[in-house]
């Protein structure tokens, strides 16, 4: 049994959903996403038992390209994150009705297929194909099923597409250049390439453009807030919960091992840029009047810190980044779902039109509160573990940067709690707000459960990822 099983399940799921018709599409999609989750847990067990779950077959003879899929602890962690979030995201959409839902759910599963492929690929070319492939479904999901005025939505989505497509093409050129040097696209061969410092710099830059746009780091973030706001809730969750993790994962898996010298030489610029994103995101979030946009900018801040951790290139930085990827994945999906629950009832995203919900919906309020507290990294939540380790790794490189980065917690607490206060508290709102229903509750409880459980007991994840990350650090420090 190997990892291709997972891809097959998801692809078959996408096709089956498409064929099943609008009435059954959502259920079929949920079924297949649960099957994929089951399969990934099964594969995780195999991996932990030390079995070989890699899959390699030659694909194209000239140039030499393999269908090479492999998983180590790092990939496994992100795959389980992806397949665990997918059923939650699909289930969370049961409260909405979508026109042509068979296309909608088929696109979701197809996108997850591409994202899982990205996490699994060990061949650079295959990796690039999956990377690009994940862009098409989200483009259509945001374009066709998004909210708001079609014209401005169109603009936002096209900007997003062209930005990310442009970035990826430069990564492709880097890959082709590496192929000319080594005669292979396999990661294990690429890291052996003998590159001069200048070559490393250009290759690093090619990768950097692709990742900096996708994460996004400032100044490449301008597509983000609008797209998060205009995309349907499911699209936003997929983008923020999983898709941007593709870029963070790729930094650890591809960029740093291939061009470590360039990364070391520009370490402080990279960390500085990432931390600047933290400050920028937090300050802009303070000013937002739309709840989804506020969450988008807060996500920008958190992700900036994760990127900073990656670029410190210490074991703690990489580990903290991976932990925080998982924590942020669950947390941000929960928060966007909370925003969606509100907009289902009030049909608006403006914070000024909310308020006074607590009295009408106590259950929802307490769940939302826990998510907000997790997002500001309250000790005892999973986010705290990741954020703490990230800040610790920053301190290893420079205490000043660590202190600046640490403001993210203070600023984060400020704008998140202020948002919570404006949205939930205050006098009873005139508009009726029905408390959370069973379906919505299930999603919320699972997310909160994960965040609290791993906050108190992160050991299984740390044990899973540490050996793989040690391997990565060893490769980075090989010269």
């Amino acid at each position: 049994m190997d990892v291709s099983l997972l891809l097959i399940i998801l692809l078959v799921g996408a096709i089956a959903t498409f064929l099943s018709g609008d009435k059954w599409a959502s259920k079929i999609a949920l079924l297949f996403s649960l099957a994929a989750f089951g399969a990934s847990i099964y594969l995780l067990n195999l991996y932990n038992a030390g079995q070989d779950i890699n899959f390699i077959k030659p694909w194209i003879t000239i140039p030499k390209i393999y269908i090479a899929l492999g998983a180590d602890g790092l990939s496994m962690a992100l795959i389980v994150l992806t397949t665990a979030l997918t059923p939650l995201i699909i289930f969370s959409s049961f409260g909405n009705t979508y026109a042509k839902s068979k296309n909608f759910y088929a696109l979701i599963l197809f996108m997850v297929f591409a994202m899982v492929g990205t996490f699994l690929s060990a061949d650079g070319f295959l990796y690039y194909i999956f990377w690009e492939l994940s862009l098409i479904p989200i483009y259509f999901i945001a374009l066709i099923w998004g909210n708001g005025n079609p014209q401005s939505r169109k603009k936002a989505v096209v900007k997003f597409f062209i930005y990310t497509f442009a970035g990826s093409l430069f990564m492709l050129v880097s890959f082709i250049y590496l192929y000319q040097k080594t005669g292979s696209f396999m990661l294990s061969d690429l890291i052996k390439a003998q590159l001069s410092t200048q070559e490393q710099f250009w290759i690093f830059l090619g990768f950097f453009l692709a990742y900096a746009i996708k994460i996004p780091l400032i100044p490449f973030h301008t597509w983000q807030a609008k797209v998060y706001q205009k995309a349907p809730a499911v699209g936003t969750m997929l983008l923020s919960g999983i898709m941007l993790k593709m870029a963070l994962y790729s930094i650890i898996r591809w960029q740093l091992p291939i061009a470590p010298q360039a990364a070391k030489e520009y370490l402080f610029y990279l960390v500085g840029l990432s931390v600047a994103g933290v400050i920028y995101g937090s300050i802009v979030a303070l000013k937002q009047k739309d709840i989804k946009k506020l969450l988008a900018y807060s996500s920008l801040a958190h992700v900036g810190l994760i990127a900073a951790g990656c670029y410190t290139m210490t074991l703690d930085g990489l580990r903290g980044a991976t932990l925080q990827m998982i924590a942020h994945g669950f947390g941000v999906v929960g928060l966007f779902f909370a925003a969606e629950i509100i907009s289902r009832r009030y049909a608006t995203g403006k914070i000024s039109q909310m308020g006074g919900i607590r009295i009408q919906a106590p259950k929802f309020t307490s769940m939302f509160m826990i998510l907000v507290l997790a997002s500001v990294a309250l000790p005892g939540t999973f986010n705290f573990v990741g954020e703490f380790e990230l800040l610790y790794s920053l301190a290893q490189r420079s205490v000043t940067v660590c202190i600046i980065g640490g403001t993210t917690i203070i600023l984060g607490a400020f704008y998140m709690l202020r948002m919570f206060q404006k949205v939930m508290l205050g006098d009873k709102n005139e508009k009726f707000f029905a408390d959370i229903n069973f379906n919505e509750g299930v999603v919320m409880v699972i997310i909160i459960g994960v965040l609290v459980f791993f906050g108190l007991y992160p050991k299984p994840i740390i044990d899973l990822i540490t050996p793989s990350l040690e391997e990565v650090v060893k490769i980075i420090n090989r010269i």
Partner: protein, 456 residues
Amino acid sequence: MYTLIAIAVLGVLCLLAEIFNVRKAIVPVTIIGLLAILGLTVTGLNDSADTYNNMIVSDNFSTPFSCLFIILTVFLIALTPSFHEKQIHKISDFVSIKLFLLTGAVAMVAFGNLAMFFLGIEILSISLYVLAASNRLSLKSNEAGMKYFLMGAFASGFILFGIALIYGAIGSFDMAVIQEAGTSADVEDWFYIGAILLSIGMLFKIAAVPFHFWAPDVYEGSPALTTALMSTLAKVVAMAAFFKLVSAMNVNLPDSSQTALMLISILSMTIGNIMALRQNNVKRMLAYSGISHAGFMLMTLLAVSTSAGILLYYASAYALAGIAAFSVLLYVTKDKDNEDIFNFNGLGKTNPLLAAVLTGALLSMAGIPIFSGFFAKVFLFGQMLNAGHVILVIVAVVNSIISVGYYFKLILAMYTKDATEAAKPVPFVYSAVATAAILLNIAIGLYPSFLLDLLV
């Protein structure tokens, strides 16, 4: 060799069928005939033979390209009866001209002698002039035919002039002799002048910048099916013939010709793309996008010894996507007097299948995986980096990004605007051809080795 004769005979049979009043059988019989010829050609894939004193050479360059041309012609002929349903009494003409055109096309890749090459290009061009003007009651079509004829006649003149000068320098029309002559001794100066004139003529046929001015007008004026033929089949034929000519003369050409080719390639890509961004007429847009793709394909000429397979792959990817896109365009603009972009509004709702096919075709042209257009670009860029043309690759990448702009304009129109009119019935062949072409496109994307290894 047999390919050429069989296609010509099929064309004659097609004309005879009209006389014997079996009009209904024309298209099915032709398609079956072409598929049989395709089978015949495929069996000769690994043989090379020359016939008639080296007039016609079938080798592992000409045979794969001939197969591609035959496949494209099958698609185009399948579309013919539905497209010309109002002129069904002339169907034998439309089909037989396309078959003769294919004869010319095959001759243009299987020539062993410049005389044969010129015959091929004239057969192809004359068929195209007729097809461009074939809607005789439309002023635009007449204008297109006239314009194309005048410009094409000039280009043919250049080519002929070039051939004459090359003959003067070498003393032979034979490609093998020409190739030989350059490696052994100094050649006369007018060989280079001849080569330049020949290249100018070919660049005109390919519609590369700065010889592209005829293309948008002619594409817009001609009947849509003819435009489809010009922008897919005719373009890749001219490209393949040019490739063969350059690879035969390459040893003789000075380095400055490389610079000139590079410049033309960059200009074609960039100007084609920038002009395409400004178009509202879909046919014109596809014409300009074709110019930019010609620029991409011209890049292969910078490394002729290694990139024949890549040219075949790029040409197949581009032409199949083009066929798919044009079959949708034929459906959308049926009974319309223009091809403006608003005709595509809401196609995603009224006809999801065709909208999906067109999306796929455009994504392939933009170079997005899993469509073969992506692989074509990757292999091309890899080859160019290998040959040391880093700047060219960077320009090409930037152009790929620009091209997303106008391809997506069409996709957006299909999915975000509301339909202006109710869905109309789709002729079966349109959706069949569109789907088949895009599936073939994806198939060669998934198994690129199949094509690439043919020409090693």
